[in-house]
């Protein structure tokens, strides 16, 4: 997580995003260098996954909190954005109801549930993208960390959290579109969502916010706060005897990470055009942990690399041999754990010099 690796990553992310956007918009379809719009949206999707990966690395790599439910915060941010996009449809829905989204009309609902109010306002929706995941993380983290729940037990309850949300969001009565989720979006900020320029704009916006996230995360982990956090990760009880309150440190970083994941989810939804309860699936959260492990835990940059590479592999493999993907993912995780404990970045820095001083010890702390 040196200054150099962060700078290179920022330059690459922004550079590639801008080049792709220009090649998509400036060149006519059929030109040799034209980048098709689906590829732009695919890149945008990878970048929003990378935002989730950086959020996971922040808590797992630097605070030792192995969250197996982080995709829940990503999905909640996505739902908040999805609700805004649903309200933007207005009378263009199948039933032409100006107030109620299609699925509510279908369920014979007469009025908008109270928690849908305000989501027609973009500012309010963006606020909710930050507040809802942050608030859930605050309550969950406050309860878990002050009870000193750590290690595998914490991982299990994060998994239970996302599974509970999965079941809840599947229910039609919840008012979030049940099984089908929210989809059929038309506009965002009164701009047609399916226009090429919007697609490129969203992808570049995701790249910019990913870079901002990386910079914030890097500031946090290199500050004195971050040094305490790493100390908490490795020897939590020792920090207590020094007078620090590990629960306060974990809670702050957990909430920050949840908000970051939520922003990633909010950018994901307009680019893939749908959010449904499947996003809460525990497998998604586990996949995010694998991205980080592949790229290199505790490096931030590795999280971006891992998210993009693994998802690129997923796109290719699920296109060619869809039934093999889960096996390939499992094998990848086992191989990385056995052969590359430092991930791809660990391999690179081992070749150059000694491993970065902040990378976590491979053996578990006491």
């Amino acid at each position: 997580m040196s200054r150099l690796s962060i700078s290179v990553t920022l330059a690459l992310v922004l550079g590639i995003a801008l080049v792709m956007a220009v090649l998509n918009l400036a060149l006519p379809e059929g030109a040799a260098l034209h980048v098709p719009t689906y590829a732009v949206s695919l890149a945008g999707k990878y970048l929003s996954y990378a935002m989730l990966a950086v959020a996971v690395d922040l808590v797992w790599g630097f605070a030792g909190i192995l969250s197996l439910g982080h995709a829940a915060f990503f999905a909640l941010g996505g739902y908040a954005m999805g609700m805004y996009l649903m309200r933007q449809i207005g009378t263009r829905g199948v039933y032409g109801n100006a107030l109620l989204p299609d699925f509510m009309v279908f369920l014979n609902w007469k009025s908008l549930p109270w928690y849908w109010h305000g989501f027609d306002n973009a500012g309010f929706a963006i606020l909710m993208v930050l507040v809802v995941p942050g608030l859930l993380a605050l309550v969950f983290g406050w309860l878990a960390f002050r009870s000193r729940v750590t290690g595998v037990y914490l991982s299990i309850i994060t998994q239970a959290l996302t599974y509970a949300l999965l079941l809840a969001f599947f229910r039609n009565d919840m008012g979030f579109g049940g099984n089908n989720g929210l989809t059929d979006f038309k506009d965002m900020f009164a701009i047609p969502l399916h226009a090429d320029a919007t697609r490129s704009g969203l992808m570049v916006a995701t790249a910019v916010l990913l870079c901002a996230e990386l910079l914030v995360a890097r500031y946090v982990v290199t500050s004195r706060f971050g040094k305490v956090l790493i100390a908490v990760r490795d020897t939590e009880s020792r920090t207590r005897f020094l007078g620090y309150r590990p629960e306060a440190y974990k809670l702050f970083v957990f909430v920050l990470s949840a908000v970051m994941a939520g922003i990633g989810g909010a950018l994901y939804v307009p680019q893939v055009g749908i959010i449904n309860p499947g996003e809460f699936s525990p497998a998604n959260s586990i996949e995010a942990v694998i991205w980080v492990a592949v790229g290199g835990r505790g490096t931030l940059v590795g999280a971006v690399l891992g998210a993009v590479l693994v998802n690129f592999g997923k796109t290719i493999l699920t296109g060619a041999l869809p039934e093999l993907w889960l096996f390939a993912l499992g094998a990848l995780f086992i191989l990385v754990t056995l052969l590359l404990p430092g991930g791809i970045l660990g391999l690179l820095s081992r070749r150059r010099a000694r491993p970065a001083p902040t990378t976590p010890a491979t053996e578990p702390a006491e």
Partner: protein, 248 residues
């Protein structure tokens, strides 16, 4: 001895783990500025006593009074650390991925809240304090090394340095010379005496030669209570102590 001079008063503390009495109505008085050695066979309750004083373990009964009237049994570890009680563990526990310098920086007395550490910048005063401690613990030339790469003895010293940085009134030191060479043991005794000039110290130790070298009042624990107390010569002549150490 007047109450005013008492720094720590352990009063009838009992701790049981699943029916096993780790501490049995243990009472102990430590004066301000005193250095005390605590010895005893394995399972005598030495580490549990430290756990109770530092808030890691809550006693079933009894009180631990620090200073004039603070009952430590009602507080948790960070509160007790903030009151000025520092603890060094048996196994050296330093923050291995951090440099020696950063270990001391994190230990320096100061605001411990996230809202402070998030924006904190190293001040000239902090740098001076760290440099001073580095001299005391003889690690000045190792300041940029990763703490995990230090030798066992150096880690022990670093941990003592971290205790000093906390500026505690009372230091609890658990087996500081375990695994040290003779030369390191001697230097450690010297270091503890130096620290004792300004602070009270409780040393738990197995090494009788080291306890003798410290030349302080000794408390012998056995089965969770005080068996004998006095100078090292006094306690080693005590037939009950001889029996406990040599067996029946």
């Amino acid at each position: 001895m007047s109450l005013r001079d008492t720094l720590l008063y352990v009063d009838g503390v009992t701790v049981t783990f699943d029916g096993f009495r780790a501490l049995n109505a243990l009472s102990l008085v430590l004066e301000k500025g005193e250095m005390r050695a605590v010895i005893g066979p394995n399972g005598a309750g030495k580490t549990t006593m430290m756990d109770v004083i530092t808030g890691k373990t809550r006693p079933d009964s009894g009180q631990v009074v620090f200073g004039a009237d603070t009952d430590l049994t009602r507080l948790d570890e960070p509160d007790i650390a903030a009151l000025g009680i520092g603890r060094k563990f048996q196994k050296p526990t330093v923050f291995e991925p951090h440099s020696v310098w950063d270990n001391l920086l994190l230990a320096l007395a100061g605001d411990r809240r996230p809202r402070f550490t998030l924006w904190a910048r190293e001040t000239a005063e902090e740098r001076d304090q760290i440099s001073g401690i580095l001299q005391t613990i003889r690690l000045a030339e190792h300041r940029h090394r990763r703490a995990g790469d230090l030798s066992h003895g150096q880690k022990q010293w670093l941990e003592i340095g971290m205790l000093l940085a906390q500026k505690p009134q009372l230091l609890l030191v658990d087996e500081p010379v375990a695994g040290m060479t003779d030369a390191e043991t001697e230097q450690t005794a010297e270091l503890l005496r130096e620290i004792n000039r300004t602070r009270s110290v409780v040393v738990v130790e197995h090494d009788m030669a080291f306890v003798r070298a410290l030349g302080v009042k000794v408390t012998v624990l056995h089965e969770g209570s005080v068996l004998s107390e006095g100078s090292i010569d006094h306690v080693s002549d005590d037939p009950r102590v001889v029996e406990v150490y040599l067996g029946r």
